[in-house]
Every structure is written in structure tokens, then in C-alpha cells.
């Protein structure tokens, strides 16, 4: 365990991974509560073509990705309705975004050598172990700032997420909060996609929050548990990947997946036992 710490790449991975885990765990709680899972998936896909555009144009990819992600988030915020039709609009937009990604990929692949073609794969899958010191610090600082803003608006945001109409009638600026939240989400996703890939972020965004929501009803305790779980998953994933020859993102997502399935199955069995017990009791009294 201790020898792991000697290596710079492990320290950088732990720094960036921990910062990301806390932000993703906290923001993910709201993503699940607001049912924005598909939307956040689209945002992570937008990062793909925009990173390629930035690379082709020679702009700093980070700026390009931030810019496009925030624009898309704002666009989706204004276009989004409330009903199931929203799902279709999101999907249609997503399919076109992917098509644009293909276009830029073809420009990019034909314009550069094969040594560069792994950069595109990196955007999709990333590598926590390949992260540089500077990138790790950028992730950590952006993560810290995002967490501070999120915690500052957490209370009204929770109100607006759980019951928008009551919150609006109480004078909570629901629309403004929506926009601020989408921008925070876009920044988090863009930053994570740049540094560690879309895959790792998505694993930390949705599932720890979903597990926390299954285990704890009280919202702030749920948020804390979600951040804690995602931090534990990250550390465990990095440790596993250090000792076994598998990619970090695979170790991490496998842990997350197994835990989620375990929680669902155990809860299901417990509920069934409770139901049977209640039935037996009812029969006995009858």
C-alpha cells in the first residue's frame, strides 16, 4: 500500500480522482433527483467533438470543451420541456452530435499521423494514470470551486429539484437555479472528460448517488454518503488497478456495478421477506 505512494502518477491520479469523486458524488445526487441522467450523457458526448475541434484548431482543448459544454447545457435548458417528449428531443440532438463527432474524427484522422489517433480514444475512455501534474491540479482546483458553489446553492437547489412549483411560489429563483446547475454540471463533465474520460466520470456521477438514495432518505445525509461512496470507489479502483493489469476505469466501474447490483438484490430480498412476514402475521391474526 505504501510503495504505491512513491509514484508520481499514483499521487496525481489520487489527487484528481478524489477531487472528481467528491464533485461527481455531490452533483450526481441532484442529477438523479432531477432526472437528468440522459442529459448528462449527452453533455459528455458533446465533449467528444468539441475536444477534437479544439485539437484541430490548435486551441487549448480545455477552453474549447468548457465553452461547448456550457453552450449545450444552456441550449438544452431552454429547449427542455417537462414531459416524456423531452427524452426524444434529447435523443435526436444526441444522434446529430455523434454524427458531427464522426465528421471531425475523419478530418482529424486524415490530417494527422496515427500516433495522434489515440487522443480521440482518450477522450472516450481517458486514463487516470496518464494524467500530468498540471492537469491533476486543474482538476482539483476546478473541482473545489464547483463544490463550493454547489454547496452554497444546495438548499434552494434541493427545494427547486424536489418540488419546483412550491419552490417558485415561495420566491425561490427556480429558473436561475436550473441554469446555474446545468452550467456546474457542464463544467464538471467537460473537466472530467478532458482529464480522465467520459466513462470514469459517468460511473461516479450516477451510480453512487443512486445507491445513496436507496440507502438514506434524508437529502443532506444522502449527498454526503454519495460523495463518500464515490470517493471510496475511486480509491479502491486506483488500488486495484495498481496491483492488477486492468485499466483503472474498468476496476472502478466493475466495483460500482457490483455494489449497485448487490444493493438492489439485497433490498429486493429484504422487502420480500418483510412482505412475507407481514402476510404471515395477517394470517395468524385472522
Amino acid at each position: 500500500m505504501i510503495e504505491m505512494w512513491q509514484y508520481d502518477f499514483i499521487r496525481h491520479a489520487l489527487l484528481a480522482g478524489s477531487a472528481l469523486a467528491i464533485v461527481a458524488g455531490l452533483i450526481g445526487y441532484f442529477v438523479v433527483a432531477r432526472r437528468l441522467i440522459f442529459t448528462s450523457d449527452v453533455l459528455s458526448h458533446v465533449a467528444f467533438p468539441s475536444a477534437l475541434i479544439a485539437i484541430i484548431l490548435g486551441v487549448n482543448p480545455l477552453l474549447g470543451v468548457f465553452g461547448f459544454a456550457v453552450l449545450t447545457a444552456l441550449g438544452m435548458g431552454t429547449l427542455a420541456g417537462r414531459s416524456r417528449a423531452n427524452d426524444v428531443t434529447t435523443g435526436t440532438l444526441l444522434s446529430w452530435v455523434l454524427g458531427i463527432g464522426v465528421l471531425f474524427l475523419s478530418i482529424y484522422a486524415s490530417g494527422s499521423s496515427s500516433a495522434n489517433s489515440s487522443a480521440g480514444v482518450n477522450v472516450l475512455f481517458g486514463s487516470l494514470f496518464g494524467i500530468h501534474a498540471r492537469e491533476a491540479w486543474v482538476v482539483a482546483i476546478v473541482g473545489l470551486l464547483t463544490t463550493i458553489v454547489l454547496l452554497a446553492i444546495a438548499r434552494p437547489l434541493l427545494f427547486a429539484s424536489l418540488d419546483p412549483s412550491v419552490a417558485a411560489s415561495r420566491g425561490v429563483p427556480v429558473r436561475l437555479l436550473n441554469v446555474v446547475f446545468l452550467i456546474l454540471l457542464a463544467i464538471t463533465i467537460a473537466e472530467a472528460v478532458q482529464a480522465v474520460g467520459a466513462l470514469l466520470l459517468f460511473a461516479l456521477l450516477i451510480t453512487p448517488a443512486a445507491i445513496a438514495r436507496r440507502l438514506v432518505i434524508q437529502p443532506f445525509a444522502g449527498m454526503a454518503l454519495s460523495a463518500l461512496l464515490s470517493l471510496l470507489f475511486t480509491w479502491a479502483g486506483i488500488t486495484l488497478a495498481y496491483y492488477f493489469p486492468y485499466p483503472v476505469s474498468f476496476c472502478l466501474t466493475a466495483l460500482v456495478f457490483v455494489t449497485y447490483v448487490g444493493v438492489v438484490v439485497v433490498q429486493h430480498l429484504l422487502r420480500r421477506r418483510l412482505y412475507r412476514g407481514a402476510k404471515r402475521l395477517a394470517n395468524a391474526t385472522a
Binding site: 438523479v32 432526472r35 441522467i37 440522459f38 450523457d41 416524456r84 427524452d87 426524444v88 428531443t89 434529447t90 435523443g91 435526436t92 444526441l94 444522434s95 446529430w96 455523434l98 454524427g99 458531427i100 463527432g101 464522426v102 465528421l103 474524427l105 475523419s106 484522422a109 496515427s114 489517433s117 489515440s118 480521440g120 480514444v121 475512455f125 466513462l199 459517468f202 460511473a203 450516477i206 451510480t207 443512486a210 486492468y246 485499466p247 476505469s249 474498468f250 472502478l252 466501474t253 466493475a254 460500482v256 456495478f257 449497485y260 447490483v261 438492489v264
Partner: protein, 306 residues
């Protein structure tokens, strides 16, 4: 823009001749196979996509296409045919999402979570398989974006068999599935097997994605499933008409996409998704325009009648 202008210059050439263009287009065997496979897939994706959109399962369709990536990568690692991997992984993921996300047969946030979790896990599994098989980055792109111009005769045969199978299953369950999709509670009360139909449709969706992936790629099958169906929904509310529109649009989109991509330098996936998206925008604009143009008149008429 250059794509449109080059397509236009092609069409507006003084010597333009539709039969000659068609002959050029179908001159090579690989283009014949591409058109054949594209047509079969559009015929399946149109109706299946209609039900997917109707049931609000776009995210599921998207996730299943990503799951296909893991299946294909796993098959390459084991040295078996990618189609087998696609089918097995697709079916497993569909059943898993169904079991994890189900809550009283209704769609809930729980199903979105299950979809997201399975999606992430299968992507990372795909990554693992690729590492294990130590294949090149270029191979990943082949899975992700399809190899429409590299379809062999054997692939066409497999696609034909699977498309016919899928359409047969859909034809058998279409009526009750429509009932269940529109009003699950009433359908359940009438004794329609809601759960059985839900799982049957999940498997059908997985099959359609697996068939289409080889042609248009993991990432772009979605364009044929969701966009034509979404466009059809903008144009009509009648199911049979919507299925017809969705299927015809899927056909038009893939034919046009292949033709434009053949005569220009643009990748098929980009052309297909852009044409499909353009149709969708036109349908939305038309609907908005009609709503604006007709509503005041109709209201005035109604007011006059009163």
C-alpha cells in the same frame, strides 16, 4: 456547406442523368452490399424505432448501442464472430436493465439509473476486452462508427435473416405492444401480459441494434432508430401512418446518406445523421408554423359559431 454545394453541383450538371448516377452508384459490389444492408436495416429500424420513441426508451436504445461495443470487442478477443457477441451482450444487457430498473412495470428514474449503470459497466468491459485483445485504436473506430463500405455477402445474408426475424416478431406483438405502450394500466386490466411484452420488446430492440451496428456503427444506429421516429411523431398521431413515415424516412435517409457519402468525401455517419436531423427540424418547424397559422383561424371560427 461544401457538402451541400458539391451535392448540388452534381445534381445541376448539364449532363446529369438519374440513370447514369444510379449506375455509377451501384457500379461496385461493395456499394450494392451497402445499399442492400442499409435497406434491410432501415426496414427494421423504422417500426422498432417508432415503438422505442412511443415508449420513451430513447436512452435505452442509446445504451444498447454502447453495449454492442462491449459485445463486439469481446467477440474479437475470443476470436468469434462479432455478431454473436453483439447478440449475446445485447440480450443480457436488455434483460439486466429490465430486471434492475423495473418498478411495477412503469418507467421511472430507477430505469434511467439502471440504464446508466449498465451502460458504463459495459463500456469499461469493452475497454478491457480491447486491452486484452491488444487491438489498435483504429479497430475501436471500426466498432464505434461502422464499416458500411466493407460489408461482405455473408454479412448481408446474416442481416437479412435477422431483420426478417425481427420484423416477424414485431408483427406478432405489434397490436398488444401498442396498447401497452399507450396505456399500460388499462392494458394490464384487460389481461394483456404487460411484463412479457416489455421484455419481448427489450430483446427486439437489442436485436435491431445488433443487426444495425455492423453497418452504421455503435454510435450511429441511434440516428436510424430515434430521428425518423421522432420526425414521424411530429407529423402524425396515427400509429400505422407514423410507422409508415418512420420507415420511409429511415430508408430515404440511409439511401441519400450512402449516395452523398459516395460522391463526396464525407463519412456516411455524418451525412446520415445530418440528413435525418434536417428532416426532424423541418417537421418541427412545419408543425410550429401550422400551429401558429391555423390556431387563430380555428379559434376565430369556433368563436363565430358560438
Amino acid at each position: 456547406m461544401t457538402m451541400i454545394t458539391s451535392a448540388l453541383t452534381l445534381l445541376l450538371q448539364p449532363s446529369w442523368n438519374p440513370i447514369e448516377t444510379l449506375r455509377l452508384l451501384l457500379e461496385y459490389h461493395f456499394m450494392q452490399n451497402a445499399f442492400l444492408a442499409g435497406t434491410l436495416i432501415a426496414l427494421l429500424a423504422g417500426p422498432v424505432g417508432y415503438f422505442m420513441v412511443l415508449r420513451g426508451q430513447s436512452f435505452l436504445g442509446h445504451a444498447l448501442s454502447h453495449v454492442g461495443f462491449a459485445g463486439a470487442a469481446g467477440a474479437v478477443w475470443l476470436g468469434i464472430s462479432p455478431v454473436v457477441g453483439l447478440l449475446i451482450f445485447g440480450a443480457l444487457a436488455a434483460l439486466g436493465i429490465g430486471a434492475l430498473g423495473e418498478r411495477g412495470g412503469r418507467l421511472s428514474v430507477e430505469s434511467d439509473i439502471a440504464i446508466g449503470t449498465v451502460l458504463v459497466f459495459s463500456l469499461s468491459l469493452g475497454l478491457l476486452f480491447i486491452r486484452l485483445a491488444s487491438s489498435y485504436a483504429a479497430n475501436i473506430y471500426a466498432f464505434l462508427f461502422g464499416t458500411v463500405l466493407g460489408i461482405r455477402d455473408r454479412d448481408v445474408a446474416i442481416i437479412a435473416v435477422m431483420a426478417v426475424l425481427g420484423l416477424l416478431v414485431l408483427a406478432v406483438i405489434a397490436r398488444p405492444l401498442l396498447f401497452v405502450s399507450v396505456d399500460p394500466a388499462v392494458a394490464a386490466a384487460r389481461g394483456v401480459p404487460v411484463r412479457l411484452l416489455a421484455y419481448a420488446f427489450l430483446l427486439l430492440l437489442a436485436l435491431s441494434v445488433a443487426v444495425a451496428v455492423q453497418v452504421i456503427g455503435v454510435l450511429l444506429i441511434f440516428a436510424l432508430l430515434v430521428t425518423p421516429a421522432a420526425t414521424a411523431q411530429q407529423l402524425t398521431t396515427r400509429p400505422a401512418v407514423a410507422i409508415a413515415i418512420s420507415t420511409s424516412l429511415a430508408l430515404i435517409v440511409i439511401w441519400l446518406g450512402l449516395a452523398v457519402a459516395y460522391f463526396t468525401d464525407y463519412p456516411v455517419g455524418f451525412v446520415v445523421t445530418t440528413i435525418a436531423f434536417a428532416f426532424y427540424l423541418i417537421a418541427r418547424a412545419r408543425r410550429g408554423w401550422r400551429a401558429n397559422a391555423w390556431r387563430p383561424a380555428r379559434m376565430a371560427r369556433a368563436g363565430g359559431a358560438r
